[in-house]
Subunit: 341 residues, 2 copies
């Protein structure tokens, strides 16, 4: 089985975006805020948006299942206040849940949280509980920068994040560390902010004792780990400089990288440098890079092709495609086992 642990619902029916735009337009004028009940998306609309997009490409590429979360760039936690994010997250998570119910063999949900800059992250727990207990979510996406490119929250090692980690440990779910749209003109969202956040999160873990406090906490760092595998020697050297244990020993029980790297040399480096137990297959399809590479004639984000071509043996490939995902996402494994898979 091939499990893609990083897919977002980027192709939701347009009425979702229209509702969100009305919500944003009403900020400061609560009387004009759209009601949740005004958004009506039918099962048929959901089905069509999936069958003609993600599921079509999954079938073309031979992917069996996607861990599916709300569109990352639309989380936009910097917009409005906690109530704004809370209403928006509930809507988006419900849609991913409904997709998982319509296509239980192909989509398993992961939740966005109703984070808001400066607001206690513990306020996200009720949504998290609902998503895990009622919607069968197997992971969360945690935004290390709800300000959207201003980086006004403390590092992930700060105790203010601990309430979320306690709940993650209780449920035994991992978090993908994933920022949203940048509203800082310096950072292009998918070309800079996403990759920077990946590198930043890794370094926040490296410099802290977070995983001493939470030995079973698991973070998935997307987009191939940002700059981390390419600069693995730098990080190994920095850890040594700080008299830390080796990063293999200190971080790799808790940190995992996905394969959202859109060319062969990148995947070759990833699989050469990072232990195979820490690599999880993903494509972030349909995402930031939707085109066909004129040099290969294949989609940039068809990452399965690169993993197939990497110099790894079948056992290692099995781990990347399925085994690691079942281990890092135990609730995904339980869902699959309940399906007899």
């Amino acid at each position: 089985m091939i499990i893609d642990i990083h897919g977002h619902y980027t192709t939701a029916p347009k009425s979702l975006e229209a509702w969100r735009n009305r919500q944003i337009a009403s900020l400061g004028n609560p009387a004009e805020a759209p009601k949740v009940s005004e958004l009506n998306i039918s099962d048929d609309e959901l089905r069509e948006s999936i069958e003609t997009n993600q599921l079509r490409l999954m079938k073309e590429r031979g992917l069996d299942l996607t861990v599916f979360s709300p569109r990352a760039s639309f989380m936009a936690h910097h917009i409005g206040d906690f109530e704004t994010s809370s209403t928006w997250a509930a809507i988006c998570n419900e849609l991913c849940y409904r997709v998982s119910q319509l296509f239980p063999e192909h989509f398993v949900p992961a939740a966005m949280l109703p984070q808001s800059p400066g607001v206690d992250v513990a306020t996200c727990i009720p949504e998290l509980v609902k998503c895990v207990e009622q919607y069968g979510n197997v992971a969360i996406n945690l935004n290390p920068d709800p300000s959207g490119g201003h980086w006004t929250s403390p590092p992930l090692s700060d105790r203010s994040w601990y309430p979320i980690y306690e709940k993650m440990v209780e449920y035994d779910i991992p978090a993908m560390i994933h920022v949203s749209t940048s509203c800082n003109a310096c950072f292009h969202t998918t070309g800079a902010h996403y990759l920077n956040a990946d590198t930043t999160a890794f370094m926040q873990c490296l410099t802290s004792d977070l995983f001493k406090d939470f030995p079973t906490l698991r973070f998935v760092i997307p987009h191939g780990g940002g700059a981390v595998p390419y600069h693995w020697g730098r990080f190994r050297g920095l850890a040594q400089e700080m008299k830390k244990p080796s990063i293999e020993e200190n971080l790799l029980k808790n940190i995992f990288f996905d394969t959202c790297v859109y060319h062969q040399p990148g995947i070759d480096l990833l699989t050469q440098v990072i232990p195979v137990d820490n690599i999880l297959f993903a494509s972030e399809m349909i995402g930031a890079v939707r085109g066909i590479d004129p040099k290969t004639g294949h989609y940039f984000d068809d990452t399965k092709r690169y993993v197939e071509a990497a110099s790894i043996d079948p056992d290692q490939r099995y781990k990347i495609y399925e085994g690691n995902a079942r281990r890092v996402y135990p609730r995904l494994d339980a869902t699959l086992q309940a399906q007899g898979r």
Copy 2:
């Protein structure tokens, strides 16, 4: 000849740091500010600080010449105001100039600028002019984020940066895009902020028409280009998504990457992915990563070893070591030619 285009004066005599600490302590109390004349560093002190450190390692590793600029993390443009930075930059640039005079065969200076957050970057021009015309500087370091991790300046494509670019074009000097210390707790300086800035700067160029306005402007992106070569497919795909010309065509006449990547797989990827004409040898020695890699028994930052082992031919290696540096830094070439090299 092997030219290292990225070295900082990280080993200056302690009295420099003591003077800077007094300057910082006096902020708000100008009467207590130390005078420039109170800092006295002799030629012997300079000589010793270089001979026992950078020059010793250059000789051990077989490097001939370093483009030498003030310590990047000490630029700290976020501290104080323009006057603070102006005095500090003048001191640091003079020291690098003196080093270049003491060791003309081994060190050629590049200048830091007296940037200050929110201050017109044109205020840096007098220091730049002095450094080029009187001190023989062959390049500048340009900080895209003088706020030190808050990213409050506009992107490098903004017209407010143009006065510096006009002067660079006039002098035909490149800029290394290099941030300084992060004062944002989210970003570790050398493990996150530096790499993020590299990726960010590249993406600012990709999304803009900066090089249409300045066809001969040249940026060197250090630390192996941050995350860029590892994610080359992503950037190629994003450019295509934006209906831009290919990044090879659009950016590689103006953007160059150094080899400050501290392990063999990283250098292998760099030399495989990025055209050899766009790669310049560098080690950032003595810099962030000073230790010996227990896996190889050699210094992490001994990047010559990785370039030697890369699958490139002697002509390509010559370009990386010398040819490209002479082309991208014409004033360096002129300095060398005047020395009969």
